[in-house]
Every structure is written in structure tokens, then in C-alpha cells.
Symmetry: C3
Subunit: 212 residues, 3 copies
């Protein structure tokens, strides 16, 4: 078990970070739904799915119990964040730069946690990377499919590549986890994804396009 | 086990009701597919998916064997209903009010049965509600995604809210099931969803929209 | 176990055939993504999903470990084939007749292998057919949903019908497998799907459309 670390109780820290990620991703989904003029229920569903869909896909693939059905705090936070966006979205849309930063943090966190969960369930390094990247980007893909957009992550920028890089760091690094330390490794991977994503936004990096 | 009730053999009644729900949902999916000018196979697939997709998503989430793969009567009824729509759709489109009533009955039934299945599999009240609502609305969402519409349930009216109310009734009420009685509880929840949905159609209730 | 045949080592043959099918389906997905001007990552994801998505849906439904997470050769071949399309697509688009032939071979192979896997996991004949057809057409449906098209398989031609016919042959024939022989049965079913598909392309067969 990669996550069983003795002599240190990080559960609450990790939980708080994950719940922040959940809130941010829910806000991102709810904003897209508001933009499509969906009703209250639609905003809540898209927000919740965006926040928890990536993890649900991950859990279905690795045959874990879906987190959304076993810990009520995740759906509660997702629903509340969606309701806040539904009510206050004009003010929130002025906070777009802040949202981009939080979204990058959510991507970093979800990807790393998902990759570690894949390793915990005994999957190979490459498979844990697939599972981790899906955890990070899956919710956004579901959001875009439901609001009838080609998933932004597949079209626009250096979003998914950042997740891939982080997933590789954490899954390869896990072999030397006893030397590196569990939390050091996680922090390196999370920071890498976050920084790559921020730099990509700042300098408008784009993944290469096909020449047609 | 919530569903194990002694001294009473309701299986056939419950089965007939569920098969009617399956046929109605299949007809709804097949009608959407006919409207998009899909071919025979497309009509049958969308009809079947609309009828059985919600239950399949439920079964995957709670890690049950998908009903569609274990009881041939469900896919058979779904395929037959889709074929009937394919052949007779002009006549059926004149029956739209009837279809709306049957669809509300299907929604009520699938939501309640799905919620109970979630409880049976040991999930918490809130999780059983999620599972039940997905059972009721999931098929319609899959239908709309495949025919390239934003899911109607997320956009238009008081459809999903009715399912949420019914799922809460049945999952909370299950705690006092021995006093209320299994079938009384089911009937109350089914009737509530059905009546809320009918009243919502009659008075054009809508879930609130965001103010933009 | 349907697939346990003594005195003959066909694994490598079967594996090579499946990897060719994977490459062809990945190329088909990557071509669609290039046509939508997705970036490098989008092309790779759509290509991989098109190649491996049908099998993943199958494995989730029958509760098997997803092949994509247990055998690295499948995702590797899918990613490589997608990269080749990304780099060389103008040349490849001149090979469209060849691609159609290879795609028909992929459809035949994936459907038959998927149906056999369904039988192996103890599902009934009809359920194994559903699972097998989903293995064959599921990847293409995911591809079309992500690039925002109504799935071609539901709209255009005699694609899915060929898969249905082959799945029925292999799942019904499995009862007399000891007389027919495992590989003879597989070859008959694969050849049937392939020939039906080729004839359908040649003579522009279409599944019937609804009369409106």
C-alpha cells in the first residue's frame, strides 16, 4: 500500500485538499451549465459530474467502490459549490483568473491521487498513469459531452499533457518511495502539474496540431 | 434485504410493472431516434439504451451484474417496443399525451426500484438516492447524448426533481419500513413521483433558471 | 472455458490479429480527430479510446479487469498508431479503401473475441451477443460522441448488422464447438462479418429507414 505511512496523520490535510479540488471542479462544471442556460437541476448535475465523474470512471475501471457513493462529503461539497455558482455566477465570472489557478490545483491533485489509487490497487505503472490522468480530466470531458461541446481538453491546450507528466512522475517515483518519502513525492508531482499548467496558460503553450 | 417480504408473492406484479416501464422508455428512445432519421439498427439501439441504460449505469456503480445481461426479458421487451415504434411511429406520435403519462410512470417506477436496489446493496441513504435517480434519468441522458442533444432532463423541466423527491421518500422511509410496510412505501414513493411529474406537466412547472 | 483448446498454441496468432485490429481502430479514431483539428493529445486520446473503448465497456459490463489496464501492448499499439496518423494523415487519407478493408477486419475480430469473452464469463447466448457487438462497435460510438457526431454506426449503413450476425453465429455455434472446433467456428464467424461488411460497402446496402 503506497498510502499507508506510519507516524504521521495527514488524512485531514489530504481530505481538505481533495474537497477544495472537488469544489473547484464543481464550480467549473456549474459555470459551463449556467452558460448553456440549464436549470437549477442541470447546473447541479453537471457541476457534480464534473467534480466526481473523473473519480467515478477511475473507480469503475479499477473495480473500487465509487468514492461518491461511500463518502457523502464529496457529493455534498460538489452540490454546494454548484449552488453557489448558480446563485452568484456574475460575480464569479469576474474571478476567472482565480478560477484558472484553482482549477490547475484541482487537476494536479486529482491526477496524483488517482495515480496513487491505481498503484494501490495493484496496477502497473502505465495503467496507473492512465487511471490517474482519467481522474484528472474525466470530469471535464463528461461536462463537455453533456453540454454538447467537443471536450476542451482534447482541443485547446496543454491541460492534459501536464497531467500526463505528473502521473508519470508519481508512478515511476513510487518505486523509490521509501527513499523519497510519500509526501515529498506527492508534492513534487502536484507542484510539477500545477507549474506546467500555469506556465502553459501564461505563455499560451499549445500541444501541436496536425498539419492539414 | 429490503425487498425480502414474507407471505406475499409480488414478483410477477413488480416484473410486469417494470417491463411496462422498459417498453415505455424504449418507445421514448426509439421516437427520438426516428426523429433523427436513424436506420433500423440505430432506432433499436437508442431505444434499448434508453430503456436499459439507466439500470446498467446503476448496476455498474453498485457493482451488481447488469440486469440487461442476466434477464433476457428486459432487452427483448426493449427491442420489441423499439421495433413497434419504428414501424408505427406516425400513429404513435398522435398518442403523445398517453406517452407522457406512461413515461412519468416509468420514471417513478425505475427511480424507486433503483433506490431500493442501492439500499439492498448496502449503500447509505444519500448514495441510494443518487443511484435511484440515475436509474430513472440515466437512460434518457444516454439517448440525448447519442442523438446529439443537450439532455432534456438537464434543461427543460421538473423531471429530475420529481425523481429526487421520490428517491428521498423511499430511502428515508426504508428506516421505518417494518411499520409502513414495503409495498405501501413503494406505492407512496411511486405515486408521489408520478403526481409531481403530472402536475409539473399540467402547470408547466420549471426548475429555476440562473439569472444572467 | 470456450477458449481453452488443448494441443495447439494459437495465442500469438490471436494476439497479432487483435493488435492489428487495435491499430486499425486507433487509426480510424485518430483520423476523425485530425478531421476535427484536435491537437496531438486529442488525436492520441480519441484514437486510443476508439481502439480500446469497446473492450473497456465490455470488460466493465462483464466485471472483468479492463484489458487496457492489464496488457500494455494494447495501449502502446493504439498510441503508436494514433501518432502515425497524426504525422502522416495526408498520405493515409489516400489509403481510404485499404482502411475500410482493415476496419471491417477489426470489426469482425473484436466482435467475435468479445462474444467469446462474454460466453467465457458465463453469460447467456443473448448476453454474449450484446457484449460482443458492443466490443465491436463501442469504440466507434465513443469516438463519435467525443467529436460531436451522431454515431455513424447508428445512422449510416450495414455496419452493426454485420456484427450482430457474426455474434449470433459464434454464440449459438459455441454449443456445438466440440464438433465444429474452436478455430473453425471463430473463422466462420469472422469471415461472415467481414464478407457481409464488404458486400454491404460494395453494393451500398443500408439498414431500412423509418418512413416519415
Amino acid at each position: 500500500m503506497v498510502t499507508a505511512i506510519s507516524g504521521f496523520e495527514p488524512t485531514s490535510l489530504s481530505l481538505v485538499a481533495e474537497l477544495i479540488g472537488t469544489a473547484v471542479f464543481a464550480a467549473s462544471g456549474a459555470s459551463a451549465a449556467v452558460g448553456k442556460r440549464l436549470d437549477l437541476f442541470g447546473v447541479v448535475v453537471i457541476g457534480t459530474l464534473c467534480a466526481l465523474g473523473g473519480g467515478a470512471v477511475r473507480d469503475i475501471l479499477i473495480d473500487a467502490k465509487p468514492l461518491v457513493l461511500t463518502d457523502w462529503r464529496y457529493p455534498l461539497v460538489a452540490v454546494l459549490a454548484s449552488l453557489v455558482v448558480f446563485r452568484f455566477h456574475p460575480a464569479l465570472s469576474r474571478m476567472r483568473p482565480t478560477m484558472l489557478v484553482l482549477d490547475a490545483a484541482g487537476l494536479a491533485l486529482f491526477t496524483v491521487v488517482g495515480t496513487l489509487k491505481g498503484l494501490d490497487y495493484g496496477f502497473a505503472v502505465y495503467a496507473a498513469c492512465i487511471v490517474g490522468v482519467l481522474s484528472g480530466i474525466g470530469g471535464g470531458i463528461l461536462r463537455d459531452v453533456l453540454v454538447q461541446e467537443i471536450p476542451a481538453v482534447l482541443r485547446e491546450d496543454f491541460y492534459a499533457m501536464a497531467a500526463v507528466i505528473g502521473a508519470i512522475i508519481v508512478s515511476v517515483g513510487a518505486r523509490w518511495e521509501s527513499q523519497i518519502g510519500h509526501w515529498t513525492l506527492m508534492l513534487i508531482a502536484i507542484a510539477t502539474i500545477f507549474v506546467v499548467r500555469m506556465v502553459a496558460i501564461r505563455y499560451r503553450w499549445q500541444a501541436p496540431k496536425p498539419n492539414i
